[in-house]
Subunit: 115 residues, 4 copies
């Protein structure tokens, strides 16, 4: 298998363009600094955790078949959107960061199975 | 501007393929259930928060120019990787979820500026 | 100064009694297992973070003088209540744990100032 | 049963005195502002979540019988210590806030069982 570091695994160029424009026309850049965005990210992860807090693992496994599915999808999107904005304001190339981290993890945790 | 819902803003197909294989050869699928992954996500957001906890907003704004840059990049990648795995095990199409959420946000927060 | 390890710094006996009864008459003990309570704790920390996410440090410093004061008080109480329940279900003596951690911190971070 | 609002359920006076002195002799008050402490709290909740992230509910239920017990105790104490400092810098009477929140919860969630 080609190692992920050799080529992109994630294309966020169009999303970055959409989010840049979205923040610009709302005058939100003034709020989107790193610490604010980490607090916002914490808030969204908290909302995601809240959906699952009183469910068993068995109930959690089938949550997307029930009435909470759309709520889960929205919270997952919210976590991603604040993380993407954080990467953007920090000037982090998310694709490169992700490929690099997968490489590090591959060295740290060698495969257990034959492949 | 074309609304994001009309076409993809995010391409994660290759990443999903890499992560599926990564988990398979390590026999990690047994651990990657929704509640476990939300706890892991909480752990990684906590590590990100810890880097910024005693820094002022001014110090945070230039963090990528200093020695913590690589650490920040790795933690941002870790948060993203667990969120991606969560979306995968829940069967969430992250691109569609993100486009839908941007549409909802656009209605909820109309632009302040002329565009 | 006497070291905190020599005597209690925290008395939670009456609170534990109130919370035990509160959960009992609501049949909530079935939900209050460690992982559930950590997810609930994450949810409440997220709600606290959300109050502060778009505020400057200067605005945060005076938040208790404004209309959000009662909201902040309630979220701080919620975080504490889930943490207390977690300590209770894990059989942790919070007073002893806190005194021990203060002792460890005292060794790890020696005082900078004359005292 | 007497309602908790009538008398204290929590005594933190001695702890507050210890923590005030602890921060003073280390010159830490400059760092202990509300947003910093919420980020620190997020970091500690993340460390707690990390201990439990790959454990089943059954494994989590007996964690205090194993080698992670002391780690769990320390992380629970760390979460509490940053929450206490946050209450202190915000001027929140934690005992009053907790009693008030229990009263609100009692109205919101009436008991299911005879008592």
């Amino acid at each position: 298998m080609a190692t992920p570091s050799e080529s992109r695994v994630l294309d966020t160029a169009r999303l970055e363009s959409v989010l840049t424009e979205f923040a610009r026309v709302r005058d939100w850049d003034q709020y989107h600094n790193p610490r604010n965005l980490i607090l916002a990210l914490t808030g969204e992860v908290g909302e995601l955790a809240e959906i699952f807090q009183w469910r068993t693992d068995a109930e959690a496994a089938t949550i997307m078949e029930g009435e909470k599915a759309e709520h889960v999808r929205q919270e997952v999107a919210d976590v991603f959107l604040y993380l993407m904005r954080l990467a953007m304001v920090l000037g982090i190339d998310l694709d490169a960061a992700v490929r690099n981290k997968i490489e590090l993890n591959a060295k740290k945790y060698p495969p257990k199975l034959e492949c």
